[in-house]
């Protein structure tokens, strides 16, 4: 019964969180956005005391049910492991192994150091929820969007507006590779050994594991009923039950309740630990290491997958139309991060790289950064669209408080960067045509067209940017007719300020 409840809740959570990352329209967030916000690490980073305390209490009460129900990466591994177990003779394929404590606590220590030092890329690499988000955003979302585009294709022919086309594009190669490698590695680990990742690498698993040793409710082996058949050990995906010694390593038990149903003698029960027939339950000693050869193989395989997926390209348009060169990303001295991120360092310290903001950005602006320190964390660029004045979606979905919630009104006065004019690209200068598209579309009214020759008021007009009024939204850069490099582009600001 407990197992069935766990499975039902877990599947619902996994499905909804997956949909959060797939739904590019952003409508699901209104109802289920909270699921991202109760994830441990994001809640911790956003200093959401309520959620963190609740999760700690939950673990102290029931053990690591968080890992079995709420964490999408954990449930995802369970799904893989379950499929693996459906093979013939593989139902009872696990065995007890001692904990690898030095690795767990060592990684946790490194993780905390990285967190404090603001090395966002390392934090993002290990954070479990973010790894899952990355996998969905990079690997599943394109399939979802292609499916959507197919529906949009039919809808268009049926004169229906129920579906609309969305662009599918590779947002960042390094992030894609990281996601693919993580995905393959996790599948192999879960396929063979169940919850290896959660009990050796995952920093959240380590913290909660430490707490769950003291949880009030635990699965407990009744020695009087146990005949040491060892079936529970063979069924335990966390490899934490030593059937022979009648002990369970509670720091690694994810409270999946599988063992309860497996034991044919009713010797394992999930119950209050301070009951009369108290059992001797202690953590076991460290032992084996992880298979490194396998890892390197997986990395190679992941790279291969990454390389083949790159071939998919967008269709180009034609007809009696002039060809349009694609815009290229200018070299920005300071990266642009979305309004609400407050500053580069704030974002770096809080973002876990889950890609939720990237998934919901409707304007093709946000993409994961490729620079080493902020790898996988979002940054803005305007070659596909600009940061539209009415949109604050990324600030609404961010579970980690890296992009703080703002309103469109606030956004209109947050300066995230400023426009810079590049004279040698500007069409009025290059071929004397009158343009002014940047000034026409500037939502902040920061651009004025002025005669290029101060002496001659009828000379061709060029944009004059009032940096104090510019908010860095990139409308000018995006709509500038100069291609591939715009004649006006945005430089980011390290610290955002309100004007």
């Amino acid at each position: 019964m407990l197992r069935k409840i766990r499975i039902t809740l877990a599947i619902v959570c996994l499905a909804l969180i997956t949909l959060l990352f797939l739904d590019f329209t952003g409508t699901l967030h209104a109802w289920f956005g909270w699921l991202a916000k109760i994830q441990f690490l994001p809640a911790f980073l956003t200093l959401n005391v309520g959620v963190v305390v609740a999760l700690v209490l939950l673990t102290l009460l029931f053990g690591r049910v968080y890992c079995s129900i709420i964490c999408p990466l954990g449930v995802f591994q369970d799904v893989v492991s379950h499929i693996s177990g459906m093979r013939k003779k593989k139902k009872y394929r696990f065995s007890y192994s001692p904990a690898v404590s030095w690795l767990r606590y060592g990684l946790l220590a490194l993780f905390i150091i990285a967190l404090v030092a603001g090395i966002g890329s390392f934090v993002a690499l290990l954070a479990p929820y973010s790894s899952y988000g990355r996998i969905v955003q990079n690997l599943f979302a394109p399939l979802w969007q292609w499916g959507n585009n197919l529906l949009a294709y039919f809808a268009e022919r049926a004169e229906s507006y129920a579906f609309y086309h969305t662009d599918v594009w590779l947002k960042s190669l390094p992030t894609f590779i990281v996601a693919a490698v993580t995905f393959v590695a996790l599948i192999v680990l879960a396929w063979r050994n169940g919850r290896t990742y959660c009990n050796t690498i995952c920093p959240v698993g380590t913290v909660l594991g430490f707490l769950s040793r003291f949880s009030l409710f635990q699965p407990v082996i009744d020695k009087s009923k146990c005949n040491s058949c060892g079936l529970c050990s063979k069924k335990c995906k966390a490899a934490c039950i030593d059937g022979k010694k009648h002990t369970i390593d509670y720091s690694r038990c994810v409270a999946c309740m599988d063992c309860l149903d497996t034991c044919q003698h009713g010797a394992i029960r999930y119950r209050f630990r301070y009951c009369k027939s108290a059992t001797d339950t202690t953590a076991t000693a460290p032992g084996n290491n992880v298979d490194t050869a396998r890892r390197s193989f997986l990395t190679g395989a992941g790279l291969l997958i990454g390389a083949t997926a790159l071939k998919a390209q967008e269709k180009t348009v034609d007809g009696g139309l002039a060809t349009i060169l694609d815009k290229e990303i200018p070299e920005r001295r300071t990266p642009i991060v979305p309004p609400g991120a407050q500053s580069l360092s704030h974002l770096r310290q809080h973002c876990t790289g889950c890609q939720l903001c990237v998934s919901v950005c409707p304007n093709g602006v946000l993409r994961p950064s490729s620079s080493l320190l902020s790898l996988m964390q979002p940054e803005s660029s305007y070659e596909r669209g600009f940061c539209r004045p009415e949109c604050v979606k990324c600030s609404e979905v961010c579970p980690a408080g890296a992009i703080r919630k703002i309103t469109p009104a606030q956004k209109s006065s947050i300066q995230i960067g400023h426009a810079v004019w590049v004279m040698p690209n500007c069409l009025p200068i290059v071929n004397g045509v009158s343009c002014g598209n940047c000034a026409r579309h500037c939502p902040a009214g920061a651009i004025t067209m002025v005669p290029s020759d101060p002496e001659d008021e009828f000379s061709v007009k060029i944009p004059a940017v009032n940096e104090e009024r510019c908010i860095g939204c990139g409308a000018c850069e995006n709509l500038c007719p100069a291609r591939p490099f715009s004649a006006i582009y945005v430089e980011g600001h390290e610290v955002h300020k309100t004007i």
């Binding site: 507006y161 009696g320 002039a322 007719p481």
Partner: protein, 468 residues
């Protein structure tokens, strides 16, 4: 809704109404459409006063031949489907059409050749060929280049004489009068054509007119000198009284027609449907027309209107699809002229249509390609479609705001790729003087962009609409 769908719905509608009418009876007698087969021998003909020859009231415009991709050669770069063209030409001739109007400029220069191939399969005395001296580009203004163009037409059309030869679109351009002089007078081309007429290689000489009215008036003032055998003008029930209202530069068809009529010059009618704008009308207008003549198409009203004038020699229609051709044949074989009262009904309809702020774009694509890649006609047509379908919400409080907003924005991205939308128009104005309708294209594009921007930002729409 395009004409094709409209026709299919019409068929379905007819079937449904048949069912409804005989709903109480135990059996229904009609398997489908109640209308008779299109007759092959009942085409209405008009007489050319000079030659006495009989010209079919339906003329085939050869500027929209079908392509192998099932589109119109006007819209795509694909090759023309010669098989389909042959079939259309055969069907048209079989049903009494005998006037084929082409130009060296049509279908990216392919029209004359394709038309020539299709027509040469029929006896030369069964049809009349109309073509034009389309020397628009300054490079073709010289006498030699223009004459070469004329000789080329004879070659492509596989004939030794042109039945109806036109000076093409005089009055068009930034300075209509100057271009008229450069193209036809200073290089002696008009005199050359008059000589060719004397020699019999041109049987009728005329001109087609767009734009500057001074050029039209001047050409007619010199009628005694050149003896125009016919003149091609734009005439339809919207332009009859509203052309000037739609655009300051244009002239009401009423004036043009009457000027020709009082001189006894036969009029050839172009744009009877205004590039489809009189078939793709606002739903209210469509309902009004259908209510009156449920079994006739919306387009048929426009064709009957143009054909009703006695001074009209033929009415041109650029028919891409067999359904277009069949529908027009139904309107003209035979033509049932409109009564005074029906004419008034159409004038009232035109007044109604003027209340919907569509952009008078006929999708002729003369403005294309835009050097900055903007898909001008698609943007304007999308806007018109939204106007006609009632998807231009008047305010945020409007009942249909959400639905209309979605239809406008989603439909916009569907009709025009993002990079080719109106916000990328820089206002260089290179397109403006190419537009035969004289639309201020950059202004219209900015208006449409403002409207889209208001919808995207969810602002109240009143200021955006005031700019209309």
């Amino acid at each position: 809704m395009n004409r094709r769908q409209f026709l299919s719905r019409l068929g379905a509608g007819a079937a449904v109404s048949t069912l409804a009418l005989s709903g109480c009876a135990p059996k229904t007698g009609k398997k489908s459409d109640q209308r008779e087969e299109i007759p092959t021998d009942r085409m209405t003909y008009r007489t050319n006063p000079k030659t006495g020859e009989k010209v079919s009231i339906l003329g085939y415009g050869c500027m929209r031949w079908p392509t192998v991709s099932n589109g119109s050669a006007r819209d795509t770069n694909d090759d023309i489907d010669q098989q389909a063209v042959n079939r259309l030409v055969d069907y048209a001739i079989e049903h009494g059409v005998n006037y084929f109007d082409t130009s060296p400029a049509y279908c990216k220069g392919q029209s004359e050749r394709v038309t020539g191939i299709a027509l040469s399969r029929h006896p030369r005395d069964k049809y009349f060929i109309a073509t034009k001296l389309s020397n628009f580009a300054p490079a073709t203004w010289s006498r030699e280049a223009s004459i070469a163009m004329y000789r080329n037409s004879l070659k492509y059309l596989q004939t030794d004489h042109i039945d109806y030869m036109l000076l093409h679109a005089i009055g068009m351009g930034n300075n209509g009068m100057k271009e008229f002089e450069e193209r036809y007078l200073k290089n002696g081309i008009l005199d050359f054509l008059v000589e060719e007429r004397k020699a019999g290689r041109i049987r009728n000489l005329g001109f087609s007119y767009h734009g500057d009215i001074a050029v039209f008036d001047r050409a007619l003032a010199e009628h005694d000198k050149y003896h125009w055998d016919f003149v091609q003008i734009q005439l339809n029930y919207l332009d009859w009284k509203h052309a000037k209202e739609i655009n300051e530069r244009n002239t009401n068809a009423e004036y043009l027609y009457n000027e020709l009529y009082k001189r006894g010059i036969p009029a050839v009618i172009m744009e009877p449907l205004l590039g489809g704008r009189l078939s793709k009308v606002h739903d209210h207008v469509a309902a009004r027309l259908k209510q009156r003549e449920p079994e006739r198409s919306v387009a048929s009203w426009a064709f009957r209107f143009a054909g009703t004038f006695p001074g009209v020699l033929t009415v041109l229609s650029g028919m891409t699809y067999m359904e277009h051709l069949q529908d027009n044949l139904r309107s003209y074989a035979p033509l049932q002229p409109l009564t005074e009262e029906e004419m008034q009904f159409l004038y009232d309809t035109a007044d109604m249509m003027m209340r919907y702020p569509t952009v008078p774009c006929n999708d002729c694509k003369y403005c294309m390609p835009c050097p900055y890649g903007i898909d001008i006609p698609s943007i304007l047509l999308h806007y018109n479609k939204c106007v006609n379908e009632g998807n231009l919400p008047e305010s945020k409080q409007a009942e249909n705001y959400r639905k209309a907003r979605r239809a406008f924005l989603v439909g916009y991205d569907r009709s025009v790729p993002k990079l080719r939308q109106a916000d990328h128009c820089i206002g260089c104005r290179r397109c403006v003087h190419h537009c035969p309708q004289g639309i201020d294209i950059p202004k219209e594009l900015q208006k449409i962009n403002n409207f889209a921007e208001y919808l995207k930002q969810g602002l109240d729409l009143v200021p955006a609409l005031r700019q209309v």
